[in-house]
């Protein structure tokens, strides 16, 4: 099965083609991209085109399109999902949504993988995976709230715990002081890699395009007038 996957949940734009022979052609952005202003509209389709070209595949050769559904930057998620749905619709490929936090966790090399995406405004999107799968499903919280949750689960200072993602870079000091180790600053594990997204998609269910929407995990910032 030929799978195209991409993720736009953070400021970094990542894409990958996982060809049916198991060979992967990936555009994995550098960690620095996480701190740059997001330009997904400019980067996404060129990255997709590069992956396809290197894999010697066209859109018509794709069996599935995997897209990171967040949580993460709202505008980025919409660019990724609108693109994925339209590509799937026009190419006939299946659409397979994958949690960006799950893809991020898949890149963390530790038994207890704490995936943290910067939710802005002092918050984090978080999920914890262990060997058996999801242990703490995606949530949005301030760092203190997350630490409290980890403490309640007896995970603070637990052996094998490691955090990664742009959220862990932002709150490194608070996290480390509380007993949550964070992957090295330059580690590639801070980026949501689309290679992991493609691999996860192999086991994901195909979903009707209109049902694929971002996991915002937060309501819009607006108050009714009356």
């Amino acid at each position: 099965m030929n799978v195209l996957g991409f993720d736009t949940s953070t400021a970094a734009t990542s894409a990958c083609v996982l060809r049916s022979d198991g060979e992967a052609f990936e555009v994995a952005p550098p960690v620095e991209a996480l701190a740059a202003p997001p330009v997904h509209a400019r980067e996404l389709l060129p990255a997709v085109a590069r992956c396809l070209e290197r894999a010697c595949l066209g859109f018509a050769d794709l069996d599935a399109i995997a897209v990171g559904t967040g949580p993460g930057t709202f505008t980025g998620l919409r660019i990724g999902i609108a693109t994925a749905r339209a590509l799937a619709g026009a190419s006939g490929a299946e659409l397979r949504p994958v949690s960006s936090l799950t893809a991020l966790a898949a890149g963390i090399e530790a038994p207890l993988r704490l995936a943290l995406i910067d939710a802005k405004r002092g918050e984090l999107f978080a999920a914890l995976h262990d060997e058996r799968g999801v242990r703490i499903p995606p949530l949005a919280a301030r760092p203190e709230g997350l630490l409290e949750r980890l403490r309640a689960e007896g995970l603070l200072g637990a052996e094998g715990l490691l955090a990664a993602g742009d959220g862990s870079l932002r709150f490194r000091e608070v996290l480390e002081a509380a007993g949550v180790p964070v992957a090295e600053p330059g580690s590639a594990s801070h980026v949501v890699r689309s290679l992991h997204l493609c691999r996860l998609a192999l086991d994901a269910e195909p979903t009707p395009p209109e049902a694929v929407l971002p996991d915002y995990l937060r309501p819009p910032d607006a108050k009714p007038q009356s």
């Binding site: 509209a41 709202f74 505008t75 339209a86 209109e210």
Partner: protein
Amino acid sequence: MILGIETSCDDTCAAVVTRAGEIRSNVVASQGLLHERYGGVVPEIASRRHLELIDAVIADALERAGASLDDVREVAVTRGPGLIGALLVGLSAAKALAAARGLPLTPVDHLHGHVVASTLGPDPIEPPYLCLVASGGHTFIARVDDLRAHRRLGGTLDDAAGEAFDKGARILGLGYPGGPAIDRLARAGDPEAFPFPRAAPGELDFSFSGVKTALLYAVRDLGEREAERRKADLAASYQSAIVEALVARTRTAVEREGIERLAIGGGVAANSLLRERIAQAAGELGLRLWVPDFSLCTDNAAMIAGAARFGEPIAHPGYLALDAAARLEAAA
């Protein structure tokens, strides 16, 4: 056939238009009610809704046109101006559709779409002509000598006309959107009851903040009960001040430019007083007037696909890195 996509504000739109300017379908999913309780468009809510609706709206436009993606030869999309998050939903979908099929893509200036809306259908306007565009987001007068571009002769310095209607309706407690509510109420009122100012900032420019303030003061001076009793007069006088300003400026532009064809567009073109007065002015000045169907005045994708006929399509894959723009350079 050209598939047009437009998501610059709070309407999710797709349309199919032929190269000859025949509208095969023009689908608009309006979010108006969704934003009503916020008293205006909330960008994040609009963007979320666009993403929910976009695929269905495109599919609907193709189906109503009796077409499939295989019949589409070109994709046209609004690149700006507008709400950036909203624009990006339509632009992303348009680019991806075009890329997956190797089709050319034409980015369109939303305002140019309004200006050339009267070129669609069986009786297309031809340049040179002037166009008054008045909506909730923009109010300006443009000159068109060549359908590829328009030249802005003047425009609002503060609120757009539709925005002025919305704000006036809020002051009068009429809800959102304000234009239709004021239009309806004004029919029972006296347009000369209150002498609201008709600001004249530049020869061809508009300003609507003064009339809005005047309405606010009038309501305050009357007191709650009296203002309620004279609501129709207030609405009629307020509407008249806005419409007279639009018509007066358009007259000046026509006379100055010496042009014999005039079009109007934008959602405010649905206002019954504006239609009446602009037709009257056109008659007096001996102009031919184009008032497109309401569905072509409010935001729609037919005007975007229509405008793409005069634009420059970008061949695949030249548009892959194309970005949306909340503001575009003024068309020259």
